[in-house]
């Protein structure tokens, strides 16, 4: 049962990939990609968890209390914000594609290219 958090992370990755491949709309594909991305957050935080550990912030807890791993949290934290701007970039690309080709269906787009 202790691998369950990792399995959830793996599931999110696979289900996101499924959405990405089956997508009929580029916006849907971008959102599915962000589901894939959140699998890394779950995986990282699950790896860093420690039984009985509290948050690695000693604002009002004694300095010798047991805490979870702060390193993975630092990785995840920046990635969430940076990932949001990358998703925004992809959405902006989708808007441009729609302007140029008047469609956001990946299948129609690939038939346009030939």
């Amino acid at each position: 049962m202790s691998v369950y958090p990792f399995l959830v992370a793996g599931w999110l990755l696979l289900v996101g990939m499924f959405g990405l491949v089956r997508s009929r709309n580029l916006v849907h594909a971008v959102v599915s990609l962000s589901v894939c991305q959140s699998s890394t957050y779950v995986l990282l935080l699950a790896v860093g968890y420690r039984h009985g550990g509290t948050a690695p912030v000693f604002g009002d807890t004694p300095v010798d209390s047991t805490v979870v791993d702060p390193v993975v949290q630092a990785l995840t934290l920046t990635d969430i914000v940076v990932g949001a701007t990358v998703t925004a970039l992809l959405l902006a690309l989708t808007i441009q594609i729609d302007k140029r080709h008047h469609t956001v269906d990946p299948d129609e787009l690939s038939s346009l290219v030939g």
Binding site: S2, V3, Y4, P5, F6, L7, G10, L13, L14, M17, F18, V21, R22, A46, V47, G48, Y49, R50, H51, A55, P56, V57, F58, G59, V63, V67, V68, D69, P70, V71, V72, Q73, A74, L77, T78, D79, I80, V81, V82, A84, T85, V86, A88, L89, L91, A92, L93, I95, Q96, K99, D107
Partner: protein, 259 residues
């Protein structure tokens, strides 16, 4: 490739990835393990060496500040890219007059419940305050530049919820935010270079680290937090402003009669 062939390929690949993942998960330290060599070192350094109560902030802005510089420039580059892509094109018209009848009526003030609007206006200063609190207390309590910046940027859009797109536009002036974002990105590097000159290493913590849990503790951590807070807030507000502009005020002028 046809849709069904693509799905079949995906299912085969997904099965392979799934098996590999499950095998790998079995080799990971079990969930909740007490063995965290990096975490333990980061905690010890943050508390005893750098006097930073929020170890996550200490890792982000002090111990591994170079990584954050990289992240920060990914953020800068993707905001820049999205802004360039969302510029009005040559064949597009932008409606600037406030009373223009072509502005979508469903986004005009007046269609929002008064209670919602009041709540939006009341919560706006509160969220701004909370946002700044989160930014400047990043070294002590949960928070920091990334989270505070995003709270500031999202909080500002309560104005849109309140149905006041014009006030939102007035409060998110594109040019100062543009400059602010670039200056903040540069300031991060500047703090790093100051560390090189004063302490002998890029992004070395050159300020006195103070006492644990005081507002000025952590040396350069609160400084970098503020810089990143400004960059993230400006970046997200700029992005959302461009998305709003595209959606509400820009039309393709391919008919000549739409102006």
């Amino acid at each position: 490739m046809s849709r069904s062939a693509r799905t079949a390929l995906l299912l085969a690949a997904a099965a392979g990835i799934g098996v590999l993942l499950v095998l790998a998960f079995g080799l990971l330290p079990h969930f909740g393990t007490a063995h965290h060599p990096y975490g333990d070192r980061a905690v010890a350094t943050a508390l005893h060496d750098r006097h930073t109560a929020n170890v996550v902030s200490s890792v982000n802005f002090d111990q591994r500040a170079l990584d954050t510089l990289g992240e920060e420039f990914i953020l800068f580059a993707s905001v820049l890219g999205a802004l360039v892509l969302l510029r009005p094109g040559r064949d597009e018209v932008e409606f600037t007059r406030n009373g223009d009848h072509l502005v979508d009526r469903s986004h005009q003030p007046g269609q929002v419940l008064d209670t919602v609007r009041l709540l939006g206006y009341l919560l706006l200063p509160v969220t701004m305050l909370v946002g700044w609190y989160i930014v400047v207390h990043g070294a002590i309590t949960p928070g920091g530049g990334f989270q505070g910046g995003i709270v500031l940027a999202t909080g500002l859009h309560l104005l849109y919820l309140a149905g006041d797109y014009r006030a939102l536009r007035a409060l998110s002036p594109i040019r100062p935010l543009d400059v602010g974002e670039a200056v903040a990105a540069g300031a991060f590097v500047l703090v790093g270079l100051t560390g090189t000159v004063l302490a002998g290493g890029f992004l070395t913590n050159f300020l006195p680290t103070g006492t644990l849990r005081s507002l000025t503790s952590g040396g350069t951590v609160p400084l970098l937090n503020t810089v990143v807070g400004i960059e993230v807030a400006a970046g997200i507000v700029l992005l959302l402003a461009r998305f709003f502009e595209q959606d509400l005020r820009i039309r393709t002028d391919d008919h000549g009669g739409t102006r």
